[in-house]
Symmetry: C2
């Protein structure tokens, strides 16, 4: 009697009433009829659910299920991203979905969404991870790893209000690549940008641009413009909104909400309009104010070197030095970057896509040291591919084009035109599976041939093997191409080899 | 001044003291020295961490990081498992890490570990998923899906006390395959057992056996032995411990803890010792007591049919009808099964492995109906591969054999014997990456040749391309095999093609 122990108390009365019915005809008297009991239990459970009027079947707010259609698109994109990470020598890694709450606090800055905390069920205070970078830094410090190139693909959770139309959810996937270790300047940083280019080109999302800046230049700019040091991070997070908000709105936020003097805001306004190639770096070296700031000069020096390497990598034309780039997260200490798509792939009738950045990252030399009891630093630089946005773009594009994806990979279907051929079908399909061939059949004793062929057409299975009375008598199997409807008879003992041959040719 | 906004208040005093130091020589006076500020901030943060004496860097209790070594083993095993699922026509799917708490309650039974609840931060009450089966049933009911063959690989969380030596953690990976839908009896059930055989054979874990039983036979056995219906699930969960506990201890639990009459326990004891092939099914049909129970007869009828299909699949010798198999979870309603390894791969000096079951599953025809407002049922049957235990076994075996795994897939290393060849190396490695070749180099301006070659040997990179003064002058690149130490010079313009040729040959 399944689930009896779990019944809510109020369901018991109804269950007992039904159990008190006289036993049915097939009961032995001594032993109570099990069907009847089982039925009574199910009815009671149903009652129990109906007695909870507030119970709605849904996924939690801001989350969703990923259907087979979603999964196919994801798998393709993640495969491409992960191959690129592996091409650059990265190792895989994973960390738990949750961390000690203390590990995650004071790492993300003012504009970060809320963390999901776990309930205190006795024991440690825990939170779901908010990104993959802080767990990576914790891992390096905890294991005293001084050097590592790793990638990490995993879910993260942020309690933001979900704007579902833009493909933003409270649960989402991140794909990170990071290089930890003390190396000669800008070589790993340049590789990170190379990786972003390879992935964005490989995904064929259209033209893109990677904006580059340096936190030391941002801070230097703030300093020479007269921003009080206590307001650096707050103003930084305002500047970070420039890709979504007009300058005048950002200026308003800085002056009215964050109490910045208007003339200071205007000085910043002059800088953040600047963007260009390596020549802008040279120009900023000559800037009367910025050139007086030691930190800014360090940042500019590094950017100059970075552009040299990017030229050798053949990707300098994809990179723009952009003084409006600030990045929201607090932990960056050096070069920062963010990739944006230049032409959103809109077509007639399609909503224009506003997807924001599709990849971003930067240098964070202080984060690992925050976890080390002695403050030992491990410089890091890395990037995160905005795969959720990319999934969304690709799905939208497929929808527009009316493209359909197969959600299974089945190569062969085992069919019969006659009744009583289940045994033969089971033997044939086992042979196919044992030979590594992807095969399906209908779970029916006597399916109709038309139903079977329709199944192949609707799910995109290319080949059918058919066994019936005639084939059995002649010791053959018919192989049918679903596309051409051509059929050939092959000796029973050769049919697997013949199918393998056809599959390798296609 | 990174992170300033986030400083704990008590760190401010120390920060201010340092900021009040006179500006350093490189400061302009008007603009405060940024290095000095940054340094002060970091020192303060360090102080802040030191002021939290209880802060330990660790992963939460019962969880762990997965190192690159773990990941390589996992990737191989998961690839094999997922290919098998795809070979049988399954679609991929994913559900959120957490569900409404109500979705998960009253599904798992008395011996289930605790659920991880999320903190009530305003909004819905949520829990981390406990398995992948209940979310699947919720998905089917929510989307009114009546038929689906899907696989799902994902993390689940259970607040059990971790027994780490047996590879059990509070966070672990599950790999599930399920067939939902109304079909002719036992065809999907037989396929589930076929899949378990294919995976366990494919993983080469040694000989294995799959125990099979049916919940209706278990319940029928309880009924004819005289177990009160109210104790069915409680006694079922005691029986489930028979693979870890001796009969006399299980009997003691049933009699003393669960209040079963000793003679009833002894009657059960007679049954649970029975195991065998299809002949035992026939024997039980003749059993004077069991044959009087309608439910048991239904179960026996289905098992007979199942064995017929298993024989056609060629796997009947791997299957044992075992009356002691009960399965802990409450939602099973029909056939149940569990795979155990027969020979644990122990060698001299290795601890004997007690890994329990490595795969299990069964039929659960009532679960989807529990979510449907009208109680519409969708019959389901499925299996779960105990991948964590399999990971553990494979890792232990590799440790015993002293096997090492490469954690990267890098094929080519770009080296130089001379100084000032960074630019050439960057150009060469970009060409390799752009041709899809997995390549690495050291992030140093002037690395020593020996260091570079050592890196290749220690990480298992098979090929090195070398560029130096002589090669540059002659317009060639040297290709070196790390294993044989042989070197050949190839024209600069042909080196990528030559490497591709060598890689395709190996």
């Amino acid at each position: 009697m399944p689930l009896l122990g779990l019944l809510p108390r109020r369901a018991w009365a109804s269950l007992l009433t039904q159990l008190l019915r006289p036993p049915c005809a097939s009961c032995t008297g001594a032993v109570r009829c099990q069907s009847q009991v089982a039925e009574a239990v199910l009815t009671s459970q149903l009652k129990a659910h109906q007695e909870k009027p507030n119970f709605i079947i849904k996924t939690p707010k801001g989350t969703r299920d990923l259907s087979p259609q979603h999964m196919v698109v994801r798998e393709k994109i993640l495969d491409l991203v992960i191959s690129c990470f592996k091409r650059h020598g990265a190792k895989g890694m994973d960390t738990p979905a949750f961390e000690l709450k203390e590990t995650l606090t004071e790492k993300y800055g003012e504009d970060s969404g809320l963390m999901y905390d776990l309930k205190d069920q006795g024991g440690e205070l825990l939170s779901l991870r908010y990104d993959l970078t802080v767990p990576f830094a914790r891992y390096l410090a905890m294991n005293k790893v001084k050097k590592m190139k790793r990638y990490h693909v995993g879910k993260v959770w942020r309690r933001e209000s979900p704007t579902i139309v833009q493909g933003r959810y409270r649960e989402f996937c991140q794909c990170d690549f990071d290089i930890a270790g003390q190396f000669d300047p800008m070589i790993p940083d340049a590789e990170c940008l190379k990786i972003m280019c390879e992935i964005l080109s490989g995904l064929q999302l259209g033209d893109f641009l990677i904006k580059v800046n340096d936190r030391r230049i941002v801070d230097g700019m703030f300093a020479v413009c007269g921003v009080p040091e206590s307001k650096f991070r707050a103003i930084c997070s305002s500047i970070d909104k420039l890709d979504k908000m007009a300058w005048k709105d950002v200026r308003h936020e800085m002056v009215v909400k964050k109490g910045l003097a208007p003339e200071v805001a205007d000085r910043i306004g002059d800088y953040v309009q600047c963007h260009g190639g390596v020549s802008l770096v040279e120009q900023m070296f000559q800037d009367p104010r910025l050139s007086q700031n030691k930190q800014a000069l360090e940042g500019l020096g590094d950017l100059k070197l970075l552009f040299e390497y990017l030229t050798l990598f053949g990707i300098a034309d994809k990179i723009s030095f952009d003084l409006s780039l600030a990045r929201g997260l607090d932990y960056y200490t050096g070069v920062i970057y963010e990739a944006v798509l230049l032409q959103t792939p809109t077509q007639a009738g399609e909503e224009p896509l506003n997807v924001g950045s599709v990849a971003a990252g930067g240098r964070y030399d202080g984060l690992v040291g925050m976890f080390d009891p002695k403050g030992h630093k491990v410089p890091c630089v890395g990037l995160s591919i905005g795969v959720e946005r990319i999934f969304y773009i690709v799905e939208q594009r497929m929808k527009t084009k009316g493209e359909k994806v197969r959600t299974t990979e089945t190569q062969v279907f085992v069919a019969t035109p006659q009744k009583n051929f289940l045994q033969e079908r089971l033997k044939l399909i086992a042979e196919l599976w044992d030979s590594g061939i992807k095969a399906e059949m209908l779970y029916k004793n006597n399916p109709k041939l038309l139903t079977q062929l329709h199944y192949c057409e609707s799910t995109g299975i290319p080949l059918v093997v058919i066994i019936g009375e005639q084939e059995l008598k002649e010791g053959v199997i018919k192989i049918r191409s679903v596309a051409s409807r051509e059929e050939v008879a092959i000796k029973r003992e050769n049919f697997v080899a013949e199918i393998q041959k056809r599959l390798s040719e296609s």
